[in-house]
Symmetry: C2
């Protein structure tokens, strides 16, 4: 197969479908989402059979248990997909919203309209649920989509694509509105990420290797998420109970998520009062502590151990594991400096009762989500009320932080005139 | 000079300055803008002397009159700069605005805050006024800036940089908040466009050659403007007087601007009533008409000539000259198809009295600015009420259309909590 030719054809079809999707009614889009849900419900056995073929192949390749788990279309996974489709159908349609319309001295009125981006490419790994989640969000936001899942899930994705096609057909929407790349050739990813004529944005969902490859290769703009090196800073003026709740939850609620705290910063003035208590909690949950010299002194005096000396590399590391680095800092300025230097512009929180310092932290910490007295674990499309999430961006342009339906749209300028000419 | 090392140093300084700029008060930023204006006013003779050295060198290089004109710091050009600085000082500060703050079931409140992008790189040609305009907008929006102007203006830009430095100093803002690249080596542009660690966005302002080079080389996101192939579509249901006013102004108000109409689309049903009248106007203004066969028949019957047969290439051409291509189309769908196929997603207008068709045009034409019954010439930061303009973007992500102060900022998520933990 000529990958270049195949992908260009997919792109051309997607572009044509995107024109029809841009004018699709909310009712048609919701009908399609519900019809896909119904098709998945009806074809459960067929989907599981296709998935079994992927799983059998994976077994012969000696892939690990976590991988197999992500690949598996269990009854629960299928139910989550169906519920997700119905939830997206229930969300408000972002397309067509007009805002900020103002009259100008020339006589024209100027405002903005929210419209789809056009064609969205999704590049992901062996999680077939992404096929449905991503298709649902792109469809609702009026975009055409090209989905490129991991080769290990090709049989599952092909079957899921059939249910999507059926839903689009039932609602009178173009079949090419959602296309699944049928080749497992990796060159398809490179082409998808560079055909700027046909693709408006790509959303990579996968590990660091995938993102770094795309950062080097892509010409199409990306909504991407790289690292989540998140911080909690406990200020001198923190409420001790709040500091404990937030620092405990931010680290130990889940270890493998991108919005988990990786470094705890503590103001010198409050460290002797808060660190022993936190040390006990972390020790109780088997969290390895990598500490600066000052923290070590305080924790050792309180009989908390074992402790590991933190190195420079620790401040830059996303552990995704029961490991926490701890550093004592002079105060707010040093905390902001540390976060802006070593963080990944993802999510950072301050614990303080002091209003001015809280507001300075909000403004000056250069991250996608910045919090006062709340756990970093709240940085999530559902917790933020977006209703759904295509990913989390730690870029600064376009969408920042959790990306929902709005992140898949853009604002164009609209002008209402009455025959005005410019003077 | 080691360009790589030099640019990296500039980037590092800009990043550090951007942290201070992010927390600069509105008063300090406005003080700096007014102090720069005062320094230019005071140092007029010195600026003109530096400019004279650039002009003398340009004269020996045989550069054309239009080029020399853009390079010249006349009294009028200096006055425009000073007025521009004072206007930007008078604009509202976009930084720190909080919006859409909502309470969530978990107890937290979530909203967004407008913050500077960080470091903005501006790459431009031999127009020293851009040095001041761009510095003013970046400064007001709380960004640090690296300015890379054309080598032909290096003496003028170096002097202007001195006035900027003086203004920053007077307001207590960091000297590195605005840096002018002092080398004329073109490798500096390539480095500026690829050092993603230090530069958040680049704004190229220049001809097609510059933009295309950057599209191939840049790794830093761009706010860019490529072509302005703008259309007016006269619908069957157009008011004839409005159609004449809009089509005349869109083409003949100014020929060399990006928001000038290049192709006129006319619905078949109205063409015999509107084309002869428009043909007379364009002939009177010496506009060359490149026409489809149907338009030719109508114009010839009305004794309008000479006419040139349009080729496929004409529909894709930005003339920037007194040349207009004219095509008769079936109606709205054909017009939208033509624009989405041949246009450059810049600015397009419909003339119609029919509400449904007007609203379909707004929604379905995939351009940055879409207008009903108004001249495309209105697509401009000042006409739209942005107060100032760093450029016009025909990209879809981030800023679309005329880009003012807001386009140099981003929205971060902010969370107000009270010690909440995620369940």
């Amino acid at each position: 197969m000529d990958i270049d030719h195949y992908m260009t054809d997919l792109g051309r079809r997607a572009r044509a479908a995107s024109r029809l999707m841009a004018r699709a009614t909310t009712a048609a889009k919701n009908d399609a989402l519900r019809a896909i849900a119904a098709a998945i419900e009806r074809d459960t056995e067929r989907l599981k059979a296709a998935n079994a073929r992927d799983l059998a192949r994976a077994a012969t390749q000696g892939l690990d248990a976590a991988f197999i788990d992500r690949l598996t279309l269990s009854d629960k996974a299928l139910r989550t997909m169906i519920d997700g489709l119905l939830q997206v159908a229930a969300l408000p349609d972002p397309v067509g919203e007009m805002s900020r319309i103002k009259s100008r001295p020339s006589g024209i009125q100027v405002g903005q309209m929210r419209v789809p981006l056009g064609v969205v490419g999704i590049i992901y790994e062996a999680r077939p649920n992404v096929t449905i989640d991503a298709a649902a969000l792109c469809l609702k936001s009026g975009n055409a989509t090209i989905l490129r899942g991991g080769s290990e899930a090709i049989e599952s994705n092909t079957e899921l694509a059939r249910t999507i096609g059926e839903g689009l057909h039932a609602a009178g929407l173009p079949a090419d509105a959602v296309q699944v790349v049928s080749t497992t050739d990796r060159a398809a990813v490179g082409k998808l990420a560079t055909m700027t004529e046909y693709v408006d944005v790509i959303v990579p969902r996968g590990g660091r290797g995938l993102i770094e490859r795309l950062m080097a290769e892509a010409r199409v703009p990306m909504i991407k998420h790289l690292d989540g090196i998140c911080h909690v800073y406990i200020d001198d003026a923190a409420d001790l109970q709040r500091a404990v709740t937030v620092s405990d939850n931010a680290k130990t609620h889940r270890y493998g998520t991108c919005n988990t705290m990786e470094t705890l910063l503590v103001a010198r003035g409050i460290a002797p009062r808060i660190l022993p208590q936190l040390g006990l909690i972390y020790r109780g949950k088997q969290v390895e502590l990598r500490v600066c010299a000052e923290s070590r002194a305080i924790l050792q005096a309180a009989d908390i151990g074992p402790l590991v000396d933190a190195t420079e590399a620790d401040w830059r590391t996303e552990y995704l594991a029961p490991v926490l680095s701890i550093k004592i800092v002079d105060g707010l300025d040093a905390a902001i400096d540390h976060i802006n230097t070593y963080g990944s512009a993802h999510t950072d929180a301050i614990v303080t009762e002091n209003h001015d310092r809280a507001m300075r932290f909000l403004r000056e910490v250069d991250s996608a989500s910045v919090m006062i007295n709340a756990s970093t674990r709240f940085a999530d499309g559902f917790e933020f009320g977006l209703g759904a999430e295509i990913g989390i961006s730690n870029d600064k342009l376009h969408a920042r932080g959790p990306v929902g339906l709005e992140g898949l749209t853009s604002l164009k300028y609209i002008v209402f005139g009455h025959g005005e000419a410019r003077q």
